[in-house]
């Protein structure tokens, strides 16, 4: 549970899954603003494969909760056109891995129209997409691709680790005048057919609220090492931090929440305090988020007590068999081992 998820006074706690928090944010924004609509595959009667549009068809009807053909190029392109004429479309790309059939609409139009129009044509749209593996779905349904989207200019990119942040980030995303890629991790989503990391379910106020972009949170305060995570890896880091107490290591865990814009200041301040940095990312190792975070800290001139480390998915396609996939994924055990070694050197 993050530091932001504090119960408000005079209100009973209300623990929600990320799926329910997303659906609630969508419903509240749709009630508030008639220009908001949702499009995607299986988002109407089914309520979304990942449950984040459940109940919306009944309230808003098929004109604003639109099931699409399996035509990502057309419907994401259509969202760009809707945004150009005053709508605020939210589109779902069911799995981020499907980006290969529609990336032109995303990074050549949604991400560039504001720039190429000299600011005349903003593109207020949200693309929500599921990420992450660990459940045996192989490499066309398990990638994170955080670095891929964050690398390309013109899009904001957010990755919630819990329901409170998911709702607030979704409200911010819908109200933002730019394309926002909202990447939700399947292991945190709260689906009946897939296990859910319990830490992702937390207290969510009923009234609409925003979580601003570009603000990381300290999910756990500590003094010996900074562990930076995002989405599911925040929970691995928190589990590892719990185990590290026994070894006398007090770990601080930073939840990035937003990749674009990126809160380098919070990361730098934490590493300045602890002197040690480990980045844990489920996306591929090379050319990605982990390298970017380490570069930010090094460029800031922060004095380190040990070389910075990263744990990420190796540079291989994500395999199917559990004996191939699971050892390749980041884990609390890997974090404990790495942090222990880092702490040994230079304490």
């Amino acid at each position: 549970m993050t530091a932001t998820a504090t119960a408000l006074p005079n209100r009973a706690k209300r623990n929600l899954t990320i799926a329910k928090a997303m659906a609630e944010a969508l419903a509240q924004e749709m009630r508030r603003d008639p220009s908001v609509l949702v499009m995607g595959e299986d988002i109407a009667a089914l309520g979304g494969v990942f449950g984040n549009t459940r109940g919306l068809l009944e309230e808003f009807g098929p004109a604003r909760i639109r099931d699409t053909p399996i035509s990502e190029t057309a419907f994401i392109g259509a969202a760009v056109g809707m945004a150009a004429v005053g709508m605020r479309p939210v589109v779902e790309l069911m799995f981020v891995d499907f980006f290969g059939v529609c990336m032109d609409a995303i990074y050549n139009m949604a991400a560039k129209n504001c720039y190429f129009s000299g600011g005349q044509a903003g593109v207020p749209m949200v693309l929500m997409t599921s990420v992450g593996g660990g459940y045996g779905d192989a490499g066309q349904h398990s990638q994170c691709l955080y670095g891929t989207f964050a690398h390309l200019p013109g899009m904001k990119v957010v990755v919630p680790s819990n329901a409170y942040d998911a709702k607030g980030l979704m409200v911010s995303a819908i109200r933002d005048n730019n394309p926002v890629i909202f990447m939700f991790h399947k292991a945190l989503q709260g689906m009946g057919w897939l296990g859910t990391v319990q830490g992702s379910i937390n207290d969510v106020p009923e009234d609409a609220y925003t979580v601003p972009f570009g603000q990381a949170t300290i999910a756990r305060t500590g003094k010996d090492v900074t562990i930076v995570g995002l989405g599911a890896t925040v929970h691995l880091a928190l589990d590892a931090a719990q185990e590290l107490i026994a070894a006398g290591i007090d770990a601080e865990v930073v939840d990035l929440r937003s990749l674009v814009p990126l809160d380098r200041a919070t990361v730098n301040a934490s590493v300045k305090k602890t002197g040690r940095l480990l980045v844990v990312d489920e996306d591929y190792m090379s050319y990605g988020v982990s390298g970017e975070i380490i570069a930010s800290v090094v460029e800031a001139g922060t004095v380190l007590k040990a070389p910075p480390k990263r744990i990420a998915f190796p540079d291989i396609p994500i395999p199917f068999s559990p004996t191939l996939e699971r050892p390749a994924l980041p884990s609390a055990e890997k974090i404990v081992a790495t942090v222990t070694a880092m702490a040994r050197g230079g304490r």
């Binding site: 609509l37 004109a63 604003r64 639109r66 699409t68 053909p69 035509s71 190029t73 057309a74 419907f75 994401i76 392109g77 259509a78 969202a79 760009v80 056109g81 809707m82 945004a83 150009a84 004429v85 005053g86 709508m87 479309p89 059939v101 032109d104 609409a105 050549n108 139009m109 560039k112 129209n113 504001c114 720039y115 190429f116 129009s117 000299g118 600011g119 005349q120 044509a121 903003g122 593109v123 207020p124 200019p153 013109g154 904001k156 005048n177 730019n178």
Partner: protein, 328 residues
Amino acid sequence: MTPTPQQYLWMYENMVKSRAFEERIATAYFEGKSPVFNMANGPIPGEMHLSNGQEPCAVGVCAHLDAADFVTATHRPHHIAIAKGVDLDGMAAEIFGKKTGLSGGRGGHMHLFDAAVNFSCSGIIAQGMGPAVGAATAFKLRGEKRVAVAFIGEGAANQGAFHESLNLAAVWQAPVVFVIEDNAWGISVSKAQSTAVPHNDSRAAAYGMPGHRVTGNDPAAIFAVAGEAIARARAGGGPSLIEIETSRLAGHFIGDAEGYRPAGEKDALFARDPIPTLRGKLLAEKVMTETDDLAIVKRAESAVEQAIAKARAAPFPAAAEAYQHVFA
């Protein structure tokens, strides 16, 4: 549906203006590019795709549109932009990469945006089709009588986006018209080499929408077919597809040696240049006099000369301006 004399004169003047604009752009484009042709040099660097010969497609369709209607065009956009009423000064300045351009020099000739008249174009084949379906769907959702038109080339009819967008438009009965400018060439590959059917209007049937083919590069014939399709869309009758036989009088881009063209093709195309053809018709049918013609040509050329002169005189953007407008 036949054009009124006023509509004929509007179409003719915009064709003349487009041609005059492109002639001056071509002249400026070659500045600084001799004796060695290097695309990076001169006042207009980069690729330059001229639309001369294709003006009838733009005017025949846009005669039925107003500023509120939404148009997406291609990498070959000038004739459509002019017919849609895009600010000529801003467009010229954009092509010269100036601060006063439509997007302050960030987009150039393939990325012309004028929100005031709901016009945009882009550099990827068939890319504008999805946005046109989306804009049209928004109009329908809000009960507005606006329509969207996506212009594409015949090469775009083999893109996935073409087929996905036709299907989506039909499923949602969006007020959108897809207009194919068939100039017979996708850069150097002929339509016959690349396309499984002789004409793309037949592909409309696969998506349950009307398909029409207009031959002869004739503004009046295009006006008639486009008028029906746009009126149908505006009245809630759903999407349609039109393929227009037209002529690419220039190469794919300036600098294209066009060695792939059969001998004599260019001469034959110039012999059927739509502008002198329309001029002859309007004079013969007494829609205009020689004096009217001179006045139209003078007005069009004067607007173009002023736009080009202002563009040349305008300041370049400062390097720091590259960092603006990444986000709204």
